[in-house]
Subunit: 265 residues, 2 copies
């Protein structure tokens, strides 16, 4: 167990710097609060450091978390230093630091997969990952332009979903998709778009698919659209709103797919 009381401490200074890049390649993932720490530990993912606010050391939630981690990785720090490292106003005094899980882009997909094509808002990305985990999706591929999937804001919105997902951040998902479609066993690719598309609720969806959801403003890029086997739209009242929020649209697609194959319609 380490103790840090001074801002001059080299480890503290390194974290303070690292925090601004949290979750990007070469930087640590920051899991703040008991809920995110627990979801990480439940899934037996590796831990680099456990930061504990000294005034919360004996809080039952903190005790439960530290008991699962080798004391050599505990770092007890003063409240003012913890404040400096925290994203939230009233923090709960526990943050887990871990290496970014290195996951190669898959050749075979188990179940369905979701491609995030330039979704910029971290809240949308987080909600979408939460929905993926809830819909039983395991594989998520995030294209360039998508918010960093391991950033603190995305982790907060995803509410623990990361632990159950294989997330692949890539510069060019279209390269991967083009190669993937040449596999004999490749799954059908479905993109959501408003143009030349079939209505989601009138379509017989495949039991397994690669879904592509596009950016908030532009939707799925034309390059990715050209690689889709099916284009679906979600019919809605367009008098007041042009489109649905992308995380909402994704939830409707994934749960409609699950509904069709659970009920055997």
């Amino acid at each position: 167990m380490k103790e840090i009381q001074s801002r001059a401490n080299p480890l503290f200074r390194q974290w303070l710097h690292d925090k601004a890049h949290a979750g990007r390649p070469g930087h640590l993932v920051w899991l703040e609060g008991p809920h995110l720490c627990q979801s990480w530990l439940q899934n037996q993912l590796e831990v680099k450091w456990l930061l504990i606010d000294q005034t919360r050391f004996d809080h039952p939630e903190v005790v439960q978390i530290r008991n699962q981690i080798d004391p050599a990785n505990w770092v007890v720090i003063s409240t003012s230093l913890f404040d400096a490292l925290s994203d939230v106003k009233s923090h709960q005094g526990v943050t887990l630091l871990a290496d970014l899980p290195a996951r190669e882009i898959p050749v075979d997909i188990h179940g369905s997969a979701v491609v995030l094509d330039g979704i910029q808002d971290p809240g949308n990305v987080g909600t979408l990952l939460r929905t993926c985990a809830a819909a039983g999706i395991q594989t998520v591929i995030a294209n360039a332009g998508t918010a960093g999937c391991w950033s603190p804001k995305v982790l907060r919105s995803a509410q623990g979903a990361h632990a159950g997902l294989h997330i692949h951040e890539t510069r060019d998902a279209s390269d991967w998709l083009r190669a993937y479609r040449e596999n004999a066993s490749s799954l059908p690719v479905i993109a959501t778009t408003l143009e030349e598309a079939t209505s989601l609720f009138s379509m017989r969806l495949p039991a397994r698919a690669i879904w592509i959801f596009g950016s908030e403003g532009q939707g799925v890029s034309s390059e990715m659209l050209s690689l889709a086997d099916h284009r679906v739209r979600i019919d809605h009242n367009q008098q007041y709103v042009e489109s649905l929020n992308v995380a909402t649209a994704a939830a409707l697609c994934l749960f409609e797919q699950a509904r069709q194959h659970r009920t055997g319609r």
Copy 2:
């Protein structure tokens, strides 16, 4: 047309003060950006002031908006003053100020209605309102504890939905619901909850209903639950996430209801 160049201008000072309370009773609603201005105007809602950044006065989007408004209500202000009144980093130089639409809580509901029972996050409230408008819902009742429906953050997430909705913010939605249920023609009330609930996708939903969606942490309050005729849950993989985001859950309910009654299942 007015012109304001000085921070000492009484109208500017009043707006700067009013902005912090935007959308609350007795304060103005702030609709920033061409998209929100247009959706307001398309629905023939009244305008108090149109603020225009002087450097954007002749921008086509601004021209299109000001042409729909009596020049007596235009206020052209310097960029630095506009910056001070803007919520976004790179603003588009046009903001419409309007009185909060006064809408009494309804006795009769057209179509279905949605009750927001303490939903705190403005992004969730905005996304939910956008989903309501997209699902053809007209009536939304927001209970105490729900984020202010006319706040700038909610307006931004809702993407114009407000113009199509009758939104009633009330201190006690349970009082209203209790009285409403005594109407002979009252609609069935459905609450979403994880406990003692029927699975959404296995239930025959009524064509019209009062839906209750609860807060992010606690869900629907016990008082509101006691007034529900039906309790529904959305079955999902709970290994990694305990629940769905509330705006996601609401979308699944409202679009499943629409799907059942469009397809006549």
